[in-house]
Amino acid sequence: MSRMFFDRYAAPGALLALLGVAWETCTRAFEVPPWILPAPSQIAQAAVLSGGTLPEHLRTTLIEAGVGLAIAASLGVAVALLMANSALARRVVYPLIVISQNVPLIVLAPLLVIWFGFGMLPKVLVVALVGFFPIAVGMTEALLRADPELIELVRSMGASRMQVLRTVRLPYALPAFFAGLRISASYAIFGAVIGEWVGASSGLGLFITRSQRAFRTDQVFVAVIVIAALSIALFYIVGFVARLAMPWQAATTEESS
């Protein structure tokens, strides 16, 4: 038990602390100017000082990421259902969505700002666009791959196309949906920040641009840490929801381990 605690928390925690101490020592020993590389203690100080403005930016980014992710999930599922049900749709839509993923964000994000202004909408669109792809692709494949013998069995029981979808294909594709959602979730904050970085009236991306212009590298680091923490939190939340939505998986792995 204590062994597990050590492996899980104490060991990575100790490594992180060690790196922090090394970082602090080096910046002090070599007298690195804070606008090049601030020490961890300076970053902590900046975090406390920006406590007034940061929550508002954080809220904006979280809303953009959340709404964008929700759209990504709905759109991903809709596109997957469409592509899984029609070979024609697959041939027509697949190339389009692959192309959509290859338009560089640094090109797309400014365009979206030109089209939709400095509000939340262009950021939400960036998150949705980046996020729907892994869900749509993963789920399409899974819907198509669902065990043909299972499908044949429920068909022999008189199931309609819709019932086959509900009883076999959709539950079969659920793990793929959550695998896709995990990837999308880990890009969601990043996508929103990119959108804000190009042009925004609020958000972590704006906070970073402003800090950079003022050579407040310590604040940039604060933002980076917040973004990392949010991404990790979102990733784990999706994992948690996945376990709730697929209780049979947890039950079965417990049994075999």
């Binding site: 299972l150 022999s156 029981m157 008189g158 009883t167 076999v168 079969y172 659920l174 039950a251 049994e255």
Partner: protein, 251 residues
């Protein structure tokens, strides 16, 4: 014993089927057989003789190339693999065929709950299929088949994947369940003892393209147990069956 078509649950005349290809591969030729309503019948044949294809045709999953076929009130099909849905608890798996067959959810559940003990699954109603043993999974799949509101049951080697001891227990158990239920059953197997132990009539199939080589009536008293497989009457039938199998393989 010639049952008229009117009282037969399954009647085939000159049924034939080929797998698509260049040239097509004939699987079944001139299949003629009749299973009386309420009888337990088995089909025994070498692997790859088209037994499973025949069941899939009877289940309505494959359309045969030609010949006549009658299945009274359509059939419930149990494939070789248990094919439980991993995302449904045992009870929800059990009622799947019933609900898809139009039985209201509550009624299907009540019927399933009443049968869980009979099928040796009492206390496992809320278990996930992944938590059940091989024998239990197979019994659950059988329960699902029994609860499907069809007049005929088609079972494709239901015990093929089980070990010899479990398999023997399951055969005797299936017999007792069937004696209560009395629906028409057509069982596909390659186990000669299993066919004779369970059936009123055994059909022996030839190698591919499969056809019926012989039909054997088994009129031993029920319930039959493992010990009955050592009686002279059983041995005589077994010898007949094995001879027919050999003829079918030589053809």
């Amino acid at each position: 014993m010639t049952a008229s078509t009117a009282e037969a649950a399954i009647a085939l005349r000159g049924l034939r089927h080929s797998f698509a290809g260049e040239p097509p591969v004939p699987v079944l030729r001139d299949m003629t057989l009749e299973v009386p309503t309420g009888a337990f019948a088995s089909i025994v044949g070498p692997s790859g003789c088209g037994k499973s294809t025949l069941l899939r045709i009877l289940a309505g999953l494959v359309t045969p190339d030609g010949g006549e076929m009658q299945v009274r009130g359509s059939a419930a099909f149990m494939p070789q693999r248990d094919l439980l849905l991993p995302w449904r608890r045992a009870e929800d798996n059990a009622i799947l065929g019933a609900v898809l067959g139009g039985v209201p959810d509550g009624e299907a559940r009540a019927r399933a709950q009443a049968l869980f003990a009979t099928f040796g699954l009492a206390g496992f109603e809320q278990a996930w299929p992944g938590q059940l043993s091989g024998g239990m999974r197979q019994r659950l799949a059988l329960l699902r088949t029994f609860l499907t509101p069809r007049e005929t049951l088609l079972l494709d080697e239901p015990f093929g994947a089980l070990d010899a001891i479990t398999r023997r227990q399951m055969q005797e158990w299936l017999q007792s369940v069937w004696l209560e239920d009395r629906r028409t059953v057509l069982l596909v197997t390659h186990d000669v003892d299993e066919a004779l132990l369970l059936s009123d009539r055994v059909f022996i199939m030839s190698t591919r393209p499969g056809t019926i080589v012989e039909s054997l009536d088994v009129s031993l008293a029920r319930p039959r147990g493992t010990r009955d497989t050592t009686t002279p009457a059983f041995t005589v039938l077994k010898a007949q069956l094995l001879d027919a199998l050999e003829r079918g393989s030589a053809a």
